[in-house]
Subunit: 151 residues, 2 copies
Amino acid sequence: MANLQISSRFTMAIHIFACIDTFEKDHKITSEFLAESGNVNPVIIRRLLGQLKAAGLIEVKRGSGGASIAKPLENITFLDVYRAVDCVENGELFHFHENPNRKCPVGRNIHRVLDEKLRRVQEAMEREMEQITLADVIRDTRECIQSDPAN
Amino acid sequence: MANLQISSRFTMAIHIFACIDTFEKDHKITSEFLAESGNVNPVIIRRLLGQLKAAGLIEVKRGSGGASIAKPLENITFLDVYRAVDCVENGELFHFHENPNRKCPVGRNIHRVLDEKLRRVQEAMEREMEQITLADVIRDTRECIQSDPAN
DNA sequence: CAGAATTGTAACCGTTGACATTACATTATG
DNA sequence: CATAATGTAATGTCAACGGTTACAATTCTG
């Protein structure tokens, strides 16, 4: 009876940015390279890069290969990434049961009653996502790596 | 490339409460009756009622039949209902990619970096859900029904 | 107390989306 | 041109959802 979550595409996308920032000095950032760090198939990475590119967050070179970050890190928020990778249907976090009975006064009005409330919840979440940027992620990643005894 | 949302179990559960409040004076509230208003199969309703009962939000009479609301409406929040119907795996809104490469400094640390930030986002959403109660829903439902020309 | 109504659940189905994988056309570069 | 990469289509597996049938367990009523 357990259920669904926001796709791992989102966390994987953040992972990609962290990798690019960490390694772009020393490696060419190919889908192969990113796939190894994330432990997923390169095609998964390419599809994600495609979405991030379409959103203007990443640049990818065909042929020669290599991905890079298209904007200053502090100008990319979690919300930007979340929207880019298209985690929820139509941008709607909540799924409505489709066909309430229109002959029932409640069935006929439930949508109107709930929509505004569900929007409030979704907006609260999105507002928080706007407060967190990739600069925060990179700062903490560097810190973690530096204090990591395995290095 | 479109994706998933929080289960319609959540909105259907709210619908159930609205129905009970609206009709309990005039009808016995059976799973059959609720199924008709929501336009779903009675078994779907029974499963939901089971979850809401387990959470102490609803009382259901076996045999004789009939569901009723177990607590004052203003003491039941969206978060209570959301948790009751178990919409996300382990209560975690975000799904992590499972096996980042532990040989990679980023793969090894990404979880530590993101967990706290994802929790912030989830908490923002849950805080908002705590602010909305079934009393709000019922108030607006009554209002909608009264101003509904179809009545 | 027998019959009717209802709940609780198990079992199974079809559909959908996620993630995985293979394959290959396309593109850039030395 | 040969090489290395990206972009993408096609296909497969798996899990969860919502749907449905079936039926035992429970309660009430005549």
